[in-house]
C-alpha cells in the first residue's frame, strides 16, 4: 500500500511560495475557511500523481474543464510539486512533477521525475512507467477510492434520478462508461438515420410516381396518335423528320401554285427542333389560307355583294316610300283640289270676313248711341227718367225699356255677325291647313324622288353602267347579284380544294406534334429510368445502408459498454455492499431504516446503470432521504469503496474534501465515528471549513492528528499555512 509522507508545493493553483506538508500522523487535517487553498493542496497530490490525466473534459468533472495549473502571480511562471510516497516495505519514492518555461517562449513544459528508493532518478516516459507501476490505479480509480471530490457529493444530493445515477457511477469509478454513452446519445444519430431514410424513401417514391406518370402519359399519347392515323412505325425521330420535310415541300409547291412566297424554313436536324418548325409552318399555312388569290377574290365579291344588296334594299325602301307619297298626293288633289283651288277659296273667305266686319262695325256704332242714352237715363234726375228726352212725353220706365230693346235687337244682331265670322275663320284655317299639307306632300314627293335618283346613281356606279328612265334598277341589281353568286360558287369550290391541300399539310404537322409529344415522353421516362439505374442512386441506397451499419455498430458498442458498466457496477456494489450498508446506517442513523439494500440494474431506455436503495421491507428509500441522508449515502459509498477488501488496495490513505456539506450535527458525529474506524486501515487526509466537524475530530478521533491551519490567502503570497 502506498502512503503519503511529504508534500512540497510551489506555484500550483492557489500556491505561490513553497509550502511543505508532512503526513506523519494517521489523520492530517487541512482546516480553514473557503478559498484559503485547502482544495489546491489536495489537487496538488492528484496532479503530481496523474498530471494531465486529472484535467480537462475527459475527467467528467465540470470544474476540471479549462483548469489552470500554474499560479498567475508567479514571476517567472513555474510549477513544482514534490510528493514523497512510501510503500508497504517502507521504501521511499519521490515524485517530482514540474511545469517550467519552454525555452524563451511563454508556454510551459511538463516534466516528471521519479527518485527511486536507492537514490537513482528516472525521467520522462521511464518515470511515467515507474509511477504507473507504483500506484497501479488509474485516475478514475483514484477518484473512486482515494479522493472524495466535492463535486461527487454535490451530484448525489440532486433529486434528479439520472444525475444521481451519474454521481454514483462516478463514485464507483464508472463515469467513463456513462460519459461515453452520453457522448453517443448526444450525436443523435438515430434522428439522422430517420432523416436519411425518409429522404431516400421520399425520393424513391417521387421517382416511382414520375415513372408511372411518364408511362401512363406515353400510353395515352401513343393511343391518341394511333387515333389520328399515326402508325407505330412512324413514332420515331427519323419518321418525324421525314414528315416535316414532306410538309415543307408540299407547302412550297402550294405557295408556288398560288403565286405566294414561302420563307426559307429549314427542317431541324433533330426532333427537338420540330415543334418550333411546326409552329412556323402553321403560321405560314394560316397566312396562305387568308392570302390565296381565290380567297382575296371571294372577299372582294362578298364586299361587292353586300354593298349591292344594301343598295337594292335602299332602292326598294325608297321606291315604296315614293310610291306611297305619290298616292297620297294624288288622293289629296282628288279630294281637296290643287293649291290654286285652295288659294281661291281662301281669298273668297277673307273677302267675306272683311264684309262681315264692316257690318258689325255699323251695328256697333248704333249700339254705342243707345248705350249712351241708357246711361244718360240711368244717371239723370229721377223726374226725367219717366219722360222721353227727345219728345218730352211721359214714358214710364223708359231706361228699362230701352235696355231691354237694346238687348233684344242689337245683341242678337251682333251675335249673329260674330257667329258667321267665327265660322268663316274656322273655314279659313282649315283651308290654310290643307294648303300647308299640300305643300308638305309636294315637298316629300320631291325629296323621295331625289333620294331614289341618288340611289339609282349609286347603283349605276356599282353596276358600272348608266341607268336610264327605261331601266328597272331593281332587276339590274338582281341580275348583278346572280352573277356574283355564280362566281362565288365557282370560287368556293376552288378555295375548298386549296384549303383541302393546306388541311392535308396541317394534318402532317399535327402528326409531327403527336410524335414529338411521344418522343418527349419517352425521353422523360428514360431520364427517370436512368436516375433509378444511375450509380448515384445506387450509391444513395448504399449510403443509407452504410448509415444503418454505422448505427448497428454503435448499438453493439453501446450494448458492450452498458454490459461491462453494469457488470462492473454489480461487482463493485456486491463487494462493498455490506460496508456501504454499515456506514450508511451508522452515519445516517435513520430510525426507519435497519437495513439498506444497494442494488444496480440497467435502465432499458438509456442502457445506463440505475441504482436503487431499498429499506428492510424492499421499499425505495430515495423519496424519504433528506439532503443529509443523501450526503451520508455519498460518503458511505466512497468510504465503502475505499475500505472494501474487495477493491484494489494500492493506496493507504483517503482524501476527503469538505465531506460535511449537508450533514446535520448527528450525521457529523456519526461520520467522525466511521472515520475513526477507517483510520484503523487508512490514513485520512481531511479538508474542512466546518468548525463543528473540527471539534468532533479533536474530541472523538482516537488516533494522532496533524493539523494544518489555512489562515489567510493573498494573490502574492498564496496560502498562509501553519502546522499545529
Amino acid at each position: 500500500m502506498i502512503n503519503l509522507r511529504r508534500l512540497k508545493i510551489k506555484g500550483f493553483r492557489a500556491y505561490t511560495e513553497t509550502k511543505e506538508f508532512n503526513f506523519n500522523s494517521p489523520m492530517v487535517l487541512l482546516l480553514g475557511e473557503n478559498h484559503r487553498g485547502k482544495s489546491s493542496t489536495l489537487n496538488a497530490i492528484e496532479w503530481c500523481l496523474f498530471g494531465k490525466e486529472c484535467m480537462g473534459k475527459g475527467t467528467g468533472i465540470r470544474e476540471r474543464i479549462n483548469w489552470e495549473v500554474p499560479n498567475r502571480n508567479m514571476k517567472p511562471p513555474g510549477v513544482s510539486v514534490i510528493l514523497e510516497l512510501e510503500d508497504g516495505k517502507k521504501r521511499r519514492y519521490v515524485i517530482w512533477r514540474t511545469l517550467s518555461p519552454r525555452g524563451r517562449g511563454r508556454s510551459l513544459e511538463e516534466k516528471l521525475r521519479v527518485t527511486l528508493p536507492e537514490g537513482s532518478s528516472v525521467e520522462g516516459e521511464e518515470a511515467k512507467e515507474k509511477l504507473t507501476q507504483l500506484i497501479k490505479l488509474s485516475f478514475r480509480d483514484f477518484l473512486t477510492i482515494v479522493y472524495q471530490h466535492q463535486e461527487a457529493i454535490r451530484a448525489v444530493l440532486t433529486q434528479e434520478p439520472r444525475d444521481r445515477n451519474d454521481a454514483i457511477d462516478r463514485l464507483l469509478g464508472l463515469s467513463d462508461y456513462r460519459n461515453i454513452l452520453t457522448g453517443i446519445e448526444a450525436a443523435r444519430l438515430e434522428k439522422e438515420q430517420r432523416e436519411i431514410g425518409a429522404s431516400f424513401d421520399g425520393f424513391a417514391e417521387k421517382v416511382e410516381v414520375a415513372l408511372r406518370t411518364q408511362r401512363s402519359d406515353l400510353r395515352d399519347r401513343v393511343e391518341r396518335a394511333a387515333k389520328k392515323g399515326v402508325k407505330k412505325s412512324q413514332l420515331n425521330e427519323r419518321e418525324a423528320l421525314k414528315i416535316a420535310k414532306d410538309a415543307k415541300n408540299q407547302l412550297l409547291q402550294f405557295a408556288h401554285q398560288i403565286g405566294l412566297v414561302l420563307p426559307d424554313i429549314s427542317p431541324p436536324e433533330g426532333w427537338k427542333g420540330l415543334l418550333q418548325f411546326q409552329t412556323l409552318l402553321e403560321g405560314e399555312i394560316k397566312r396562305f389560307r387568308s392570302e390565296m388569290p381565290e380567297v382575296k377574290r371571294q372577299q372582294d365579291l362578298f364586299r361587292e355583294r353586300s354593298k349591292i344588296m344594301e343598295l337594292r334594299e335602299g332602292y326598294r325602301r325608297e321606291k315604296e316610300r315614293g310610291d306611297d307619297i305619290r298616292q297620297r298626293f294624288q288622293g289629296f288633289l282628288r279630294e281637296k283640289g290643287s293649291n290654286k283651288v285652295l288659294d281661291g277659296k281662301i281669298e273668297g273667305i277673307i273677302e267675306e270676313i272683311d264684309s262681315q266686319e264692316k257690318k258689325l262695325k255699323k251695328v256697333n256704332a248704333r249700339a254705342a248711341l243707345i248705350r249712351d242714352a241708357i246711361e244718360y237715363l240711368s244717371c239723370g234726375v229721377r223726374s226725367s227718367q219717366d219722360r222721353c228726352p227727345l219728345c218730352g212725353n211721359a214714358a214710364p220706365d223708359l231706361a228699362e225699356h230701352l235696355k231691354e230693346e237694346w238687348e233684344k235687337r242689337v245683341g242678337n244682331e251682333v251675335h249673329k255677325f260674330q257667329k258667321q265670322m267665327e265660322d268663316l275663320r274656322i273655314n279659313l284655317k282649315e283651308l290654310k291647313d290643307l294648303s300647308e299639307e299640300y305643300g308638305r306632300l309636294k315637298e316629300k314627293l320631291k325629296s323621295a324622288e331625289e333620294t331614289l335618283k341618288e340611289i339609282n346613281r349609286k347603283i349605276a356606279q356599282a353596276l358600272g353602267r348608266e341607268i336610264t328612265e327605261r331601266d328597272d334598277p331593281y332587276v339590274l341589281v338582281n341580275k348583278k347579284l346572280d352573277s356574283i353568286d355564280k362566281e362565288l360558287k365557282k370560287l368556293e369550290d376552288a378555295v375548298r380544294s386549296r384549303q383541302g391541300i393546306l388541311d392535308d399539310i396541317a394534318h402532317l404537322l399535327d402528326k409531327i406534334e403527336l410524335i414529338v409529344d411521344i418522343l418527349n415522353s419517352e425521353e422523360k421516362k428514360r431520364i427517370v429510368e436512368e436516375i433509378q439505374a444511375s450509380p448515384e442512386y445506387r450509391r444513395m441506397e448504399e449510403l443509407k445502408d452504410e448509415f444503418a451499419i454505422l448505427l448497428d455498430d454503435i448499438d453493439k458498442i453501446k450494448q458492450a459498454v452498458s454490459e461491462i458498466s453494469h457488470e462492473e457496477a454489480r461487482q463493485k456494489v456486491g463487494a462493498a455492499e455490506k460496508v456501504i450498508d454499515n456506514y450508511f446506517r451508522e452515519i445516517a442513523s435513520n430510525p426507519w431504516v435497519s437495513n439498506i439494500e444497494f442494488s444496480v440494474s440497467v435502465d432499458s431506455r438509456t442502457a445506463r446503470n440505475h441504482y436503487e436503495f431499498r429499506d428492510q421491507h424492499g421499499k425505495d428509500l430515495t423519496p424519504i432521504l433528506s439532503q443529509g441522508d443523501l450526503n451520508a449515502m455519498a460518503l458511505s459509498i466512497f468510504l465503502g469503496m475505499a475500505t472494501s477488501r474487495a477493491v484494489k488496495e494500492s493506496f493507504g490513505f483517503v482524501m476527503l474534501d469538505d465531506p460535511s456539506q449537508s450533514l446535520g450535527s448527528g450525521h457529523k458525529e456519526k461520520l467522525i465515528e466511521v472515520l475513526d474506524e477507517v483510520l484503523k486501515d487508512r490514513m485520512v487526509v481531511l479538508s474542512s471549513m466546518d468548525k463543528e466537524l473540527q471539534d468532533l475530530v479533536f474530541s472523538k478521533i482516537t488516533g494522532a492528528k496533524t493539523k494544518y491551519v489555512f489562515s489567510n490567502w493573498t494573490p502574492e503570497e498564496g496560502p498562509q499555512v501553519r502546522e499545529e
Binding site: G56, S138, F203, E536, F547, I557
Partner: protein
C-alpha cells in the same frame, strides 16, 4: 483489465463486423480520452456527416435531374 479492453472484448459481431467495431471503439476511446463526451459526439458526428453530406449531394444532383 481496464474499461477499453473490457468493452473491446465484449463487442459482439461476426468476423467482419467485429474487426470494424473494435476499430471504431478504439477511435471512440481515443476521442473520449482527448475531449471527453464532446469528443465521442464529435467522432460519431464526423462519421455520420461523411455519409449524410455525400447522400445530400447525390440527392440534390438527382433531384435536379428529375
Amino acid at each position: 483489465m481496464n474499461y477499453k479492453e473490457g468493452v473491446g472484448d465484449r463487442i459482439a459481431g461476426d468476423a467482419d463486423a467485429l474487426g470494424r467495431r473494435k476499430e471504431f471503439w478504439q477511435e471512440i476511446v481515443s476521442a473520449y480520452e482527448k475531449e471527453g463526451e464532446d469528443g465521442v459526439k464529435s467522432i460519431l458526428s464526423k462519421r455520420s456527416c461523411s455519409i449524410t453530406e455525400e447522400f445530400s449531394k447525390l440527392l440534390r444532383r438527382l433531384e435536379e435531374n428529375l
